[in-house]
Amino acid sequence: MPESNPISRRIIWPIALALAAFAQEKVTPTPAKQSFRITGTVVSALTAQPLAHTEVEIGWALKSETEQSLVTTDDGQFQFDGLPPGKYWLRAARNGFSRQGFDEHDGYFTGIVVGPGLQSADLIFRLRPDASISGMITDEQNELVRDVQVMLFRSGIENGRRATTLQGQVSSNDQGRYRFSHLSPGTYFVAVSARPWYAQGLEQRGRRVRGRVRGVQPPEGEPDIVPPNPALDVAYPLSYYSGATEANSATPIVLKAGDRASADVGLTAVHALTLRIHDPSVSPGQPFGATLEQHVFEGRTIPVPQENAQTRKGEIDISGLPPGEFVVNVQSFGKDNNNAKDTHGWTQTISLSSDADITAPAAGTASAPITGVVTLGGMPPGRRAYIQLRSRASGNTLGAEVSPKGEFEIPPSEVRPGTYQVSVTNLPESIVASVAASGAKVLGQSVVITGAGPVQLTVTMSEGLATVTGIAMKDEKPSGGVMIVLVPQDPENNTALFRRDQSDSDGSFNLRQVLPGKYTALAIENGWDLEWANPSVLKPYIKDGEAVDISGSRKYEVKLKVQ
């Protein structure tokens, strides 16, 4: 280039800059001044019809407060204006449609990202109508049964595994009817736990019991004993829809959005049984009691309310029981009730089909406490941490408060054999990093308790936590609504290390509080019904996932291909 006059060069530069700047302003307005909108239509996920009078709310993605809310017009439209750029959550609710997030799955939803060049208008918000299950409870004489407990179980993915858990309970009304409303699609079971209102049992068998006839005092001078009519010493077994008394024969109720299913349950009175519990180690006057649980699905249990337990020295008679499989937990308490070390307990499972006796196992196999230390980084004053041991198989949870020095003890009376995942709650920004034990085998972050002897745990809390963010891409385009899973090494024993999210409208996702370790990140479209913690289910996806090695408390970025 020929040399130009130095002065003119100096002048041109600033003018060039100014021209450029001027050109910039005209073409691209300053982002800070612009506001955006989110608009769309709410429709029924079942009929695709627009829904009027629907309440719609939006708020900042990481906050729970509602920024704006409105009610849709007669053609189901909504419009939010004046929004600064960012990520928002969107929620809607209406009569017959429970509050749901946009594209919600399992508590995760797709966030709407708003900003220049981003699509946030004309959204179609599909709301799933609620389903319900209702029915009538009758006995063997076809008479309605009122005021009894009806239980609802749901088969779903809990912590990444398929499990059937208790969802709720209601009482049957005076017409023997019950209803469970606001149910989301899924597979359900209904069961009834009840006692015939007219049942007469052990409490009247030649023993003095106060006020036997409910609400009525016996005449003056009459003993309050009403010997039973054996035909009235009856009980109802735990009864499932439809007609089964065992969980594995129960009829599933499959609900789709908007279904109103009917499930009547029949109860048949059978002769009641008595269980006698012997514990020779109990001394006279020592407080001593038993609680019963009954198996429902997959080894989980529900408590059995007892009305008829008679306790004598070393023996408990529980009568009025229906046939079934029961878990009996017996506990005797030390003289000083506050001293947990004096408690002695044992558990036995019994399949009851006739009057039966069970005896305490020989001394030495009584349960022992679980003690230990949690390394705490330093607790804010007034806050208490809690250690929790949760069994995936039985749903049992053991727990104890952690002292400010980090010590805890779970008394023997609560300890049951099983494999438990260890977690510590109520600690700010810190989770369990590793677990070591003596007296028990450690698998990842789980311990195997046999109950054979005392167990000492050392629980180390995390020093730093990482964040994994990224974009899920499908066919080279960002994809929203995709399930993101961060799978740890040895997934079987490290359920606590899993992290999940749902990609937002711009394909982005955010996994927080990730502990150091080696992981594989996966993006699975329509993966919400998968047992995402089950290694055999994950196997086909792992090879196309992204390996991520977390070692510090920083941010990691990955790009995932949607599978």
Binding site: E55, L70, N95, E143, D174, H182, Y198, Q200, G215, D224
Partner: protein, 560 residues
């Protein structure tokens, strides 16, 4: 009768024996006379036959259980029989039951079934028993046990034609206890996803139904960031307070539909400050409706605790603030009517209202004055005379140990009350005044935030007594006897005795007396409820220290 049967048998045996006794041949031992031997044999025969009868004594008790309203038999009801040989059974499909193999005895029976009440539960303490007493023997007649069917109140709650869910429904039961109206909260429910509710197991009686309040972030159509809306509390059939609500007269076996339409309205912001409490005292603020029921509106306090704000539906409330500490309790009550955002409300906490009670005892003769005056010469009871759900009555108590002879009514909340003064001892209340109000005739009004003058009571010891009996068609009968003082009808007393009734320590004066076959459900402290009976009442004038015996009172049969 057993005796008759036995004597017949003995006579038969006697004849038999006499015909058997051989005359000359049998030699009886010793100097036993033939007639004595006969007597001995007869006695033995008696014993044997008596034994035989006892072992074969096997009676049957049968009967049926019926619906007391329709008379229809109740199948599968549980019948229980008390006492030796007691048993239980279910009635069959015709409501019939039977117990066999019973010995002769006295026993009692009771029946029950879900959805029914026994007559004692249904009559709410009218003195009826839950037990039916029976004598079992050869002539036992068939027993009929009656059960009263439950009442049900159900309904549909709508807004803009659509059923609304989660609306609380509360029932208030109006009862008459000790001649006075009492309102009790009983039974509640929440509307389901169709806006329907159902409350069963209700004893027959008078009920009021209250709906709401409820609130949720309902916004106006298309208008973002608008005011929250809610549903104000409404009493069936659609009025804002209990005092103007219509009662539901629920009879046994009736199902009443209480449908109501609610209107969503804006929630208003109410704010202000509370003062007068010491540092470290916790302050509590609540909204109380006209029936004395606390409504669960959310109230937020500032960090210092002195400023508050709340979101409420429109209505008339009493703002009630309380502050507690170890040795003192303060309260403030401010009536407010909210129909728009209201700010600047100021509540000043003050020590609770305490009404002193001053008692003077007058003796008619100097000798009687030797009676040692008691620490608690009277008990004063204040009962709310407006429909009120605010629980308890107030009772006078001693200000011990500070002032062992000072009697007072403590912590009385604003309201209108009927006072009842009961002497502890052989006295009558000659007068009870509070700042010019005659408490024997009128209500006591306790206003919010101002002092109440002491209650002055005068007792006298020259009371009269009244005795008498109740007759019905010439025969002695059992009924409730009402003694109505002409000047102070609120002080009507009731006695329920078998045989002779007796009232003592009565104030001298004129009275009306009558007996009726209903007692516990008559609102006898209310002159209006008494008027139909006073026309048939006997009149008596009681002099001081008099003892009057009335001629038998005719039992008035009060049709129900």
């Amino acid at each position: 009768m057993p005796e008759t049967v036995h004597s017949r048998a003995v006579r038969q045996v006697q004849v038999h024996l006499l015909s058997r006794v051989p005359r000359p041949k049998l030699r009886l031992s010793g100097d036993v006379h033939p007639t004595q031997a006969t007597a001995l044999l007869v006695f033995l025969a008696y014993l044997l036959t008596a034994q035989a009868f006892a072992q074969n004594a096997s009676f049957t008790l049968s009967g049926s259980v019926v619906n007391s309203v329709t008379g229809e038999p109740i199948p599968r009801a549980l019948v229980q029989m008390f006492a030796g040989g007691g048993n239980s059974t279910l009635t069959d499909s015709d409501g019939h039951f039977q117990f066999d193999g019973l010995a002769a005895m006295q026993t009692a029976l009771t029946a029950r079934k879900p959805g029914f009440f026994n007559e004692q539960e249904a009559s709410q303490g009218q003195g009826m028993s839950a037990l039916t007493r029976i004598t079992i023997g050869p002539n036992t007649s068939s027993v009929v046990l009656k059960l009263v069917p439950e009442g049900i109140i159900s309904g549909h709650v709508t807004a803009d034609g659509e059923g609304i869910e989660n609306i609380p429904v509360k029932l208030v039961h109006l009862r008459i206890i000790d001649g006075r109206r009492r309102w009790e909260q009983t039974g509640n429910a929440t509307t389901d996803s169709d806006g329907e509710f159902r409350i069963a197991s209700l004893v027959p009686g008078m009920y009021y139904a209250a709906f709401g309040p409820n609130w949720g972030p309902l916004a106006a159509v298309g208008n973002p960031k608008s005011r929250e809306r809610g549903y104000a509390e409404v009493f069936f059939p659609g009025v804002p307070d209990l005092a103007s609500a219509a009662p539901i007269d629920l009879s046994g076996g009736q199902q009443f539909e209480a449908d109501i339409s609610l209107k969503a309205e804006p929630l208003y912001h109410v704010s202000g400050a509370v003062s007068g409490y010491a540092a470290g005292q916790g302050v509590n603020l609540s909204f109380v409706n006209s029936a004395g029921d606390t409504l669960p509106f959310p109230v937020q306090f500032s960090r210092q605790g002195s400023e508050f704000q709340a979101q409420v539906t429109s209505g008339s409330y009493t703002l009630h603030a309380e502050a507690f500490s170890e040795n003192s309790s303060l309260q403030a009550n401010l009536p407010v009517t909210i129909s728009a955002d209201t700010a600047g409300i100021h509540l000043v906490l003050e020590p609770d209202v305490s009404i002193p009670v001053i008692v003077r005892t007058e003796f008619s003769s100097s000798q009687a004055a030797k009676v040692v005056p008691q620490n608690m010469p009277v008990t004063v009871q204040l009962t709310s005379s407006l429909p009120s759900l605010a629980a308890s009555d107030y009772f006078s108590s001693l200000d011990a140990p500070a002032n062992p002879s000072a009697l007072a009514l403590r912590d009385v909340e604003p309201g209108r009350y009927a006072a009842q003064v009961t002497p502890n001892g052989p006295f009558y209340v000659q007068s009870a005044q509070c700042g010019g109000i005659d408490l024997l005739r009128d209500d006591l009004t306790v206003p919010a935030g101002s002092r109440v003058p002491p209650i002055e009571v005068v007792l006298r010891d020259d009371g009269a007594s009244l005795t008498g009996t109740v007759n019905s068609e010439g025969q002695s009968a059992r009924g409730a006897v009402f003694l109505v003082p002409d000047r102070t009808p609120r002080q009507t007393k009731m006695a329920r005795e078998q045989g002779q009734f007796r009232f003592t320590n009565l104030a001298p004066g004129d009275y009306g007396v009558f007996a009726a076959d209903r007692g516990a459900d008559l609102e006898y402290t209310n002159s209006e409820a008494l008027s139909p009976y006073l026309g048939k009442a006997a009149h008596v004038t009681l002099p001081p220290n008099g003892n009057v015996n009335l001629p038998p009172l005719d039992l008035i049969h009060a049709g129900k």
